[in-house]
């Protein structure tokens, strides 16, 4: 009984330890700046989960993170270090926004479907290059996908400043999408939209696929040990490529949903780093579906609470960014030394 329960307990600690350390660092920063950390954290919890309105805001903020977390998890699972979801998010966002204002006469369902499908398509195509380079030539995908992020951000920024700039708009933004293209709101007057359900559904699908489907097992084997998987007849190269493309498509879809569900247009600076937060989420979750949901809601809570506490107290919202970065750092650190000693004594 305990032998079954123990590793689970250890898993929970594995996931909770980076978070606890990040919160401790955040507390130190808050303290140094003259704020009272526990008070700030309590206020953040209230602002994130204190009522229906707050929960809706948290889930809205979690929506893009569910998908960028999923995009990272799918790639990491197969041993592909794709850090390019951020770029796909930008491209998916701009493509969905363009479809959303360019085809005003289409029925809502078709319009949304086409917009999201093209967003995923573009996201997937964007990473074909790094995928092929990695799968066929062994070129480090971290650098190529990272570089593609900068290219995507610059490319979309050029598009919204020039060819796609809304008439009469001073800031760099596309025209607003037509009402038909907007994803329906779930709980008006809150901004929670259908995208949350879609994203949650996809993460759950991933959970089922990764656990029960043949493809899920294959991708895990390739991720754990490509040489072993080749020895048992699973060629890693096609799985590398497929994981990269699916990961990119989900990143693109995330951007499309963000454009149609919340922003209703594409603006320069479209993502405050959702792609990178997705990496932190997948790492914290150890690529598990349920973990992605929990971590995405957690980061969503941080984001929405961070925006509110800046309004109600003078704690700068950047505390959220500090926490996110710290979670990323500790999520990959081997923190075993903290309790290893105790465990070996036992």
């Amino acid at each position: 009984m305990t032998s079954i329960a123990l590793p689970r307990f250890a898993n929970v600690i594995d996931a909770a330890a980076p978070l606890a350390l990040a919160l401790a660092i955040g507390a130190a920063v808050l303290l140094a700046a003259g704020f009272e950390p526990l008070g700030v954290y309590r206020l953040m919890i209230e602002e994130a989960f204190g009522g229906q309105r707050q929960i809706a805001a948290t889930l809205t903020a979690a929506t893009p993170l569910l998908l960028t977390g999923l995009a990272a998890a799918i790639a990491f699972r197969a041993g592909i270090f794709n850090v390019g979801a951020e770029g796909c998010f930008y491209l998916g966002g701009i493509v969905a926004a363009v479809v959303g204002f360019a085809a005003p006469t289409w029925p809502s369902f078709v319009l949304i479907l086409v917009a999201l499908a093209t967003a995923s398509l573009v996201g997937g195509l964007w990473l074909v290059g790094p995928g092929v380079l990695r799968a066929r030539f062994g070129v480090d995908e971290v650098v190529t996908t990272l570089m593609l992020n900068f290219i995507a951000v610059a490319l979309t920024s050029w598009l919204v400043n020039g060819p796609l700039l809304a008439r009469g708009s001073a800031n760099s933004a596309t025209p607003v999408i037509v009402a038909n293209a907007a994803l329906p709101r779930l709980l008006p007057p809150t901004t929670l939209h259908l995208g949350f359900i879609i994203s949650l559904g996809l993460v759950m699908l991933y959970g089922i696929w990764s656990r029960f489907a043949v493809g899920g097992l294959r991708s895990r084997l390739v991720g754990l040990n490509p040489r072993f998987s080749r020895a048992v007849g699973i060629e890693p190269a096609p799985i590398f490529l497929a994981s990269m493309i699916v990961s990119g498509a989900i990143g693109g879809l995330a951007g499309g949903i963000h454009a149609l569900g919340l922003v209703h247009r594409f603006v320069s600076g479209f993502s405050p780093g959702y792609g990178f937060t997705g990496i932190a989420i997948a790492l914290l979750a150890r690529n598990s579906a349920i973990g992605v949901v929990i971590a995405a809601v957690l980061f969503g809570a941080l984001t929405s609470a961070g925006a509110n506490i800046q309004l109600f107290s003078d704690v700068p919202i950047e505390i959220v960014q500090i926490l996110q970065g710290a979670v990323m750092i500790f999520a990959v650190a081997n923190l075993g030394f903290i309790w290893n000693r105790r465990r070996t004594v036992r």
Binding site: F150, I151, A154, Q321
Partner: protein
């Protein structure tokens, strides 16, 4: 016109070159440093603060070096001692430091994004008598700050140390054959940490060059991704400081060109993407030739 461009190109090369030399040494020691951007940002802020407080650009430069090295050490320890993934930790440091810098600006100085204190002592510009009157050459070598000279002096110095000295050999061995280094009784992790501290210090100097060498204030976007362009430069340079310098010079020239091309119909955003595109092309070329070599071996 051409003189002004060359001068600007040299000036914009400096931060990229400093960080790229650091990143190159770091990579040869076995650590790909994705945190250069954070060390550069920290260096830029600290340089402005110390420069305004003390009125000494020398102290400010030393402080930037120190803070960059400190961030580098912290990052290195997480990677080497807690066996953390260097890519994620580097990106994590970039995210966290950007947040911390903005947090501190708001909570200590009550400013959002830009910190512009009075009396920032700028780095001196070294005018070289007689040479500054020579058309093209004068624009390149005269009127640059000491960090530019340091950056270029470091190129042959790094090549020499890497190839000709015991320390260079140890560093290369640490990157290439960690277990061998351990077997001969050296501490590869500490050598790797030292290379990250070196990279961090240089990235800190790169930040100081931007804040108290070029503009005279701190802005949260002051580094503008130059830490990642430096990454592009040392990937371009592979293991050679000279090739790395060539990459940095190329990217510095793009940087200077892009400012000039604004308002002339050439979209600056697209010029900005050039370094990243070049790196992908270089990596693709390397991958292809590696594959061809493998195929030749198996035949």
């Amino acid at each position: 016109m051409i003189d002004a461009f060359l001068h600007a190109a040299m000036m914009m090369t400096t931060p990229i070159l400093l960080a790229a030399i650091g990143g190159l040494v770091n990579r040869i020691g076995g650590l790909v440093n994705l945190g250069l951007e954070s060390m550069m940002l920290a260096g830029a802020l600290v340089a402005v603060i110390v420069s305004a407080k003390t009125g000494s650009s020398t102290l400010a430069t030393v402080a930037a070096l120190g803070v960059g090295a400190g961030v580098g050490l912290a990052m290195s320890l997480v990677i080497t001692r807690l066996s953390a993934n260097e890519i994620i930790v580097g990106l994590g440091f970039t995210v966290a430091t950007a947040g911390l810098v903005r947090f501190l600006l708001k909570s200590i100085y009550g400013v959002s994004g830009t910190y512009n204190p009075p009396n920032v002592a700028m780095l001196p510009r070294l005018d070289i008598p007689f040479l500054d009157a020579v058309p093209v050459l004068g624009a390149i070598v005269s009127g640059q700050d000491p960090l530019t000279w340091l950056a270029w002096a470091l190129v042959p110095a790094t090549a020499f140390v890497l190839q000709q000295t015991r320390w260079g050999l140890r560093l290369r061995a640490t990157g290439a054959a960690e277990t061998t280094v351990r077997a001969v009784g050296l501490a590869p992790l500490s050598i790797r940490d030292a290379s990250t501290v070196f990279a961090g210090g240089l990235a800190g100097l790169a930040g100081a060059h931007l804040s108290i060498g070029v503009v005279g204030l701190f802005n949260e976007g002051i580094t503008g991704g130059r830490g990642f362009i430096a990454l592009a430069a040392f990937y371009f340079g592979r293991t050679s400081p000279f090739r790395t310098a060539l990459g940095a010079l190329l990217f510095g020239a793009f940087d200077a060109a892009q400012i000039r091309l604004q308002g002339r119909g050439v979209p600056a955003e697209l010029v900005q993407t050039l370094p990243y595109i070049i790196v992908i092309i270089v990596l693709t070329g390397l991958g292809l030739s590696e594959k061809r070599r493998q195929r030749a071996r198996t035949l």
